[in-house]
């Protein structure tokens, strides 16, 4: 009898704690769907890849494609733009990257990037001939004044990163699969 009095509370404690723990896990499991519904849904994810025909883009011209609701900048770079991009020393950059890291080897004339400023998400200008290209002959974001160079690297302004490269591959010389 005396031992029972001693042991019973311990057993109850254990039961209380396990009950509470199971209850907490159950509650968390029940709440998770209520939270996860906010994340991108199946239709948003389904738009995960596009095939872009780049055959009609002339040298020096830029075209914007749409991928996952985002603008994709494709620029057919001139030899001068490529040479300029290669010539920049890495220590002059905010987010150092060589030109070779920004393009596919053998296709250096094609620059494929997500056209969203890495600062606060505006679409930089510089795709159309009449738009400002910034101080580094690439793109200029009018929202808070970020300048990108001809390899889409951030050179001046508040943006912390270079323009993002989407996952892409060349299916042929004229067809790019983005996503």
């Amino acid at each position: 009898m005396a031992t029972n009095v001693k042991n019973d509370p311990n057993r109850r404690d254990f039961l209380y704690v396990t009950t509470a723990a199971v209850g907490a896990v159950g509650a968390a499991a029940a709440v998770w769907p209520l939270i996860d519904q906010m994340n991108p849904d199946a239709t948003v994810k389904a738009l995960a890849s596009i095939e872009a025909d780049i055959s009609s883009i002339e040298v020096g011209q830029s075209v914007t494609f749409k991928w996952r609701g985002q603008p994709i900048f494709v620029r057919h770079r001139t030899p001068k733009e490529i040479a300029d991009a290669i010539a920049v020393p890495l220590e002059d950059m905010i987010d150092p990257a060589t030109d070779a890291e920004r393009v596919v080897a053998g296709k250096e004339q094609w620059l494929v990037m997500v056209g969203i400023c890495t600062h606060l998400g505006c679409v930089p200008q510089g795709q159309k001939p009449n738009e400002p290209k910034g101080e580094f002959n690439g793109w200029f974001c009018p929202c808070h004044g970020s300048h990108y160079d001809s390899a889409g690297r951030i050179r001046k302004g508040p943006a912390p990163k270079n323009l993002v490269l989407p996952p892409y591959e060349f299916l042929s010389d004229t067809l790019v699969k983005i996503g």
Binding site: N39, G69, Q70, G121, C122, P158
Partner: protein
């Protein structure tokens, strides 16, 4: 403070009801008989203005939701439909849109009142913090409401502000996708913003109830900062302050009505009458005027500090500028509440007000040249005021002597006035009398 009711139901039905649910007693204690300092001035009336504004926004908002469609294909047109076709829709939509501006105008006056008269000091810290929470909720609500018409400024404002969260290290982009429900601001974003824009005002109303509860524990402050000492210091809330508040509400509604009837769009941006286009960013993105000071501080940080990059730094400064208000009661340790008795505090306070207005102006300018430098100076003073000036003033300032009580301060004022008049008349008669009225 439940002893100030003189509610004595005589009617047996009322008595029966009172014993079961003392609703009438509660209303009489808190809405009518509540003892209120007899010296509070017009700066104290903006709480009532804000209460009315919240009700107006909720009523007009519920009506607008009957006609509005939260879908990216139809949202823009449905707002135009409300303004052009719905009976009185032009007025109701205008009242709601202009109402947001008037709401913020009133809340800024209310907050600066609190800053000047030390309303945040013990024992009103919780009351003040609840107010800051209401202010944050108001900003979230107004931001989401501004997205609903789905114009260019709606879309790009939503993009820029949600991207603020992407500055958070490691999980930033995951949070961003979670918030907007996609890779960019799109239909899921509009839908959830509509849902939350409908919800938040009721949360605000709940926090307002707590705010008033916290107010009714110590009772109102007053311009002297001396606490109420006896019933001679107070008058009942009704009719003295119900009437005074009502008068101010009427006056407040005059410019409000002018905006609604004659210039409902003057406080907005022309760009928001262009349908949202995810591929073209307007040349100049500017938030609504009431968010400009905080936007200016966000942009003022364009330099890296140690391991914090400029983007994250700007976001920390912007949120910090509001969160710092939460700890204000512990930064300003001066025992004297009211700025009226703090000669050194006053110039710094008015400079703070001017600085706030300067930041408001700078937030609307392009981020270049002199504007960037001024934004940095303004941001530095904003934080310096709370973190350096107020703590130091609390140590070195010698406040002016406080009156012994509220009623004495009023008598002193009349006495001084009477003495002055006597001197001017050159009479030897030392009769002291209060002038009628206030």
């Amino acid at each position: 403070m439940s002893s100030h009711s003189n509610y004595n139901p005589t009617n047996p039905v009322e008595k029966w009801f009172d014993e079961r649910l003392p609703l009438i007693r509660f209303s009489k204690e808190h809405l009518m008989d509540f003892p209120t300092p007899k010296n509070i001035n017009y700066w104290w009336t903006f709480g009532a203005v804000l209460a009315i504004m919240l009700v107006m926004q909720i009523v007009t908002g519920i009506i607008l939701a009957m006609h509005y469609v939260p879908n990216i294909e139809m949202a823009f047109d449905s707002v135009e439909h409300i303004r052009r076709n719905v009976n009185y829709g032009r007025i109701i939509q205008g009242t709601h849109a202009v109402g947001a501006s008037m709401f913020f105008f009133a809340v800024y006056i209310h907050m600066f009142r609190g800053l000047y008269y030390g309303s945040y000091k013990a024992p009103r810290e919780i009351l003040w913090i609840l107010g800051v929470i209401i202010f944050l909720l108001m900003m979230a609500t107004s931001f989401m409401g501004y997205v609903l018409p789905w114009g260019q400024m709606s879309f790009w404002g939503a993009t820029v502000i949600t991207n603020v969260f992407s500055a958070i290290p490691l999980v930033g982009n995951t949070i961003l996708e979670f918030l907007v429900g996609g890779f960019v601001v799109d239909n899921p974003t509009l839908n959830r913003f509509f849902s939350l824009h409908y919800l938040l005002p009721f949360i605000i109303a709940a926090v307002v109830a707590l705010h008033i509860w916290a107010l009714h524990v110590p009772g109102n402050g007053n311009p002297t900062g001396v606490e109420v000492k006896s019933s001679a210091d107070t008058v009942p809330f009704h009719p003295y302050y119900t009437m005074k508040d009502l008068f101010v509400i009427v006056v407040f509604f005059i410019p409000f009505a002018w905006f609604v009837f004659f210039a409902p769009d003057i406080l907005g941006h022309a760009d928001n009458y262009i349908r949202a286009n995810p591929f073209i960013t307007p040349a100049k993105i500017v938030p609504e005027w009431y968010l400009l000071p905080f936007y200016a501080m966000l942009r003022a940080v364009d330099f890296d500090l140690l391991f914090i990059n400029a983007k994250l730094g700007g976001v920390i400064v912007m949120f910090g500028s509001i969160l710092i208000l939460m700890v204000l009661p512990w930064l300003d340790r001066s025992k004297t509440r009211s700025g009226n008795f703090r000669p050194m505090f006053r110039p710094f306070f008015w400079l703070f007000v001017l600085n706030f207005m300067m930041l408001m102006y700078l937030g609307a300018q392009a981020a270049e040249g002199i504007y960037v430098i001024l934004s940095k100076v303004g941001t530095a003073y904003y934080f310096g005021y709370f973190l350096i000036i107020l703590p130091i003033l609390a140590r070195i300032e010698t406040p002016k002597p406080l009156p012994n009580s509220i009623s004495e301060s009023i008598l002193d004022k009349y006495e001084a006035k009477a003495l002055k008049q006597e001197k001017m008349r050159g009479e030897g008669n030392s009769e002291i009398q209060g002038k009628g009225g206030k």
